[in-house]
Symmetry: C3
Subunit: 144 residues, 3 copies
């Protein structure tokens, strides 16, 4: 059995900035040397989320629009009243979208659809350096 | 260790059509021959989602109603303005609900609650043929 | 390979009561004897959900507020019209938040962020006794 943890790092701009991390996850799957199994994509923090979308310019506006409609930035958040960090909306959005995604791997490849990418959404109110954890479990081959 | 990928296929009607896939997932668990571990239920596409609900007629109306209230079909979506495929709402809904669900398996059975079923929700604007991927990982027994 | 199922139990008050279960999950990881791998945290029921948040008093109000804003308790739910149990909103909220969360484990520890906790949210309309299932998969060490 192969059990292998990897990390990917990238910069984000905050406020529902959506980053396509698919190629990094696939590259780490190759480095880990997994042929069949799954990867848990996990956000170690409470103002980021992970999901899948078709990564195209229209949705890069529609998804932030939906987040703003459902969880407006300028509402009163108790989190902000207590901590004065201006990111109450970020925490609530991240809690609803979720910090983990699990994707099968078959013949060394993520089993994504043709128009489906893995994305990190930075909900925070400012630019950040982000780390996402990848935990691979399955059958291994010789590492690339 | 057992690592086994299965697929299930079914037809959907689109527009928040909710399909109970529990018995198919359980059947594939038996075919895979897993006794203890977990299954990752994954939607390879960006207009479908997977979650769990009590599969009963009331919720089959309440959940589509909530999707329409939060992500109205007839709003302006940039996705539609760009691609003219009339399914901007489908993509946004699917991104919020999520493409993966992970369920433990114990003594060859999914550890679902009594009134809990695994469902696929087709968010797309039209009927589709759908495939859902099941990745089983755990301890195996002799396949059924 | 280590495959190990554990359960944790606790009392909840219902109506978006948020419980921090992080220390219980970490304790069970030690009992299971897992050093590297992942845990699937699963809610066996259709009126509870699991996610991660910064567990602090502000968000313990903001998240229930958001649930009430998006899925009001006093709307008409078909689920209630059929079953008269007053928890239509509970089922819809749970379906949107989700019943499973997967968290990597590295060197015997959950890879959570510093300000990130695993929480169970009880969406039901009344106090409950709850069980959450933890399925650990990975490399084991001698059990504690």
């Amino acid at each position: 059995m192969l059990v292998c943890k990897k990390e990917i790092r990238f910069d984000t701009e905050g406020e529902a900035h959506i980053i396509d991390i698919t190629s990094q996850v696939q590259e780490m799957a190759s480095e880990a040397g997994i042929s069949n199994g799954m990867v848990c994509v996990f956000v170690p923090g409470s103002t980021g989320a992970v999901t899948t979308i078709e990564f195209e310019p229209g949705l890069l506006k529609d998804i932030p629009d939906a987040l703003e409609r459902l969880f407006p930035k300028d509402m009163t958040y108790e989190h902000h009243l207590k901590w004065h960090d201006g990111n109450g909306h970020s925490h609530v959005r991240a809690a609803f979208l979720g910090a983990s995604l699990t994707v099968p791997i078959s013949d060394c490849k993520l089993t994504l659809g043709t128009w489906q990418q893995i994305v990190f959404i930075d909900m925070d109110a400012r630019a950040r350096k982000r780390t996402v954890i990848l935990e691979f479990i399955g059958e291994g081959h010789e590492p690339a």
